[in-house]
């Protein structure tokens, strides 16, 4: 058993050997450097200017409502509506072997659950680019909606990280939407992709997550209306969080595959943006308050809405950004579905071909 697997009580992968242990250590080291870089870059940058601790704590209040806490599904009540499917605009297209890659664009007419000046209404975020890989011919294909992670959102990078070409080669169509406030949806003046997504202001992050769910559901409804079912979601990191959340919200998803998904966003800011030891008790908003306010969109607050065998969880043995215990929490919450643990860390999913093969073998049973 590898050191990483043993420490978290995961059964030994069949071919875990010294090479996998070494790769996991390399992955852990690179994740350590990633966290150091994020702390260096964001610890100060993410502190909102012009806010005081009191107003930031107050930003959590709308989401601590007793009825909402008791029934968090109410936060996503819009999913029960059945509006006409959205019609995308095609901005550009190019041919590839056996198909094409089109850049499409959908509107994102999002209305915040709690209207406040914190919500950044900007024209960039009111539209959603989707890179769409489709096969030639009339045969309907299963479509993977692939969701990128925090600070990603450039289609060419997302397509590489989420292995769009490999999914396409395996016979799936792929849709890569850009999440709110990322990539081309970032407001003018943003210093990095996703800057306006993550904030100590709870209203901003909660509404951004809710908008992401609304947007991904619009993509799903468009694809289903075009006859491209079955449609499922696969997501990496923040995208994995959203994929896991959607699996608790929609009964009609064909599958859900979260990769290295964090389970509680309240725990992440300290991890990602970090605070040196003397400052740990001086985060702008108390951790417990964040946990409670973020609960409305935690996958752990929503029972799995699709059959368990239509889910597949992937985690990294050496992941220091989303440690295995977070992934295991989802695994337990979903009743122990099929999983795959790879050697490496959050930034280094070694053995991607093996990971894809395991996911595909699982999905092929019903798509």
């Amino acid at each position: 058993m590898s050191a990483g697997a043993a420490s978290i009580g995961i059964a030994r992968e069949p071919d875990t050997g010294w090479a996998d242990v070494a790769l996991t250590r390399v992955g852990r080291a690179l994740d350590g450097a990633l966290l150091a870089g994020m702390r260096l870059a964001f610890a100060e940058a993410i502190r909102p200017a012009g806010y005081d601790a009191g107003s930031l704590a107050a930003s959590a209040v709308p989401y601590l409502d007793e009825a909402l806490q008791r029934e968090p599904r109410r936060f996503f009540a819009f999913l029960d509506d059945e509006p006409p499917p959205p019609a995308p605009r095609t901005i550009a297209r190019r041919r590839i072997d056996r198909g094409e890659i089109a850049l499409r664009e959908l509107d994102s007419p999002y209305v915040p659950w709690h209207a406040s000046p914190s919500w950044l209404a900007c024209p960039e975020n009111a539209r959603m680019p989707v890179q769409h890989w489709t096969h030639d011919g009339g045969r309907p294909r299963a479509t993977v909606i692939a969701l990128h992670g925090f600070t990603m959102g450039q289609s060419w990078i997302d397509a590489r990280a989420l292995m769009a070409a490999q999914w396409f080669a395996r016979g799936f169509d792929v849709a890569l939407p850009v999440l709110p406030f990322h990539g081309p949806r970032a407001p003018r003046g943003a210093r990095y992709s996703g800057e306006a997504f993550a904030s100590w202001d709870v209203r901003r992050l909660n509404e951004a997550v809710r908008q992401a769910v609304a947007d991904v559901d619009r993509v799903r409804r468009w694809l289903v209306a075009e006859g491209r079912a079955p449609v499922g979601v696969l997501g990496l990191s923040l995208g994995g969080y959203l994929a896991a959340l959607l699996a608790g919200l929609r009964t009609d998803l064909a599958f859900a595959v979260p990769l290295a998904p964090p389970l509680t966003l309240g725990w992440l800011p300290r991890r990602l943006f970090g605070f040196r030891a003397p400052e740990r008790r001086r985060t702008p908003v108390a951790g417990r308050l964040l946990q409670a306010a973020y609960r409305v969109h935690s996958p752990l607050a929503h029972p799995l809405a699709i059959p368990r065998d239509r889910t597949f969880i992937v985690g990294g043995l050496g992941d220091r950004v989303v440690p295995p215990k977070q992934v295991l929490a989802l695994w337990r919450h979903w009743g122990r579905p099929a999983t795959h643990w790879f050697s490496g860390g959050h930034t280094t999913p070694f053995g991607r071909t093996r990971i894809m093969a395991r996911i595909e073998a699982h999905l092929r049973r019903f798509v």
Partner: protein, 46 residues
């Protein structure tokens, strides 16, 4: 005129972004390299 604190914050930000860029490039390179030397063919198709 930016204050010393603002200048220091900007330096930290850009240094951090530089670290992140290097980490992502190295990590992606290693992952792709591992894919290339792996024994399983990528994208075999259904």
């Amino acid at each position: 005129m930016p204050t010393a604190a603002q200048t220091w914050s900007a330096i930290r930000f850009f240094a951090g972004m530089l670290v992140l860029t290097v980490v992502f490039v190295v990590a992606h390179g290693l992952t792709v390299l591992h894919d290339l030397v792996g024994s399983e063919p990528a994208g075999a198709g259904p």
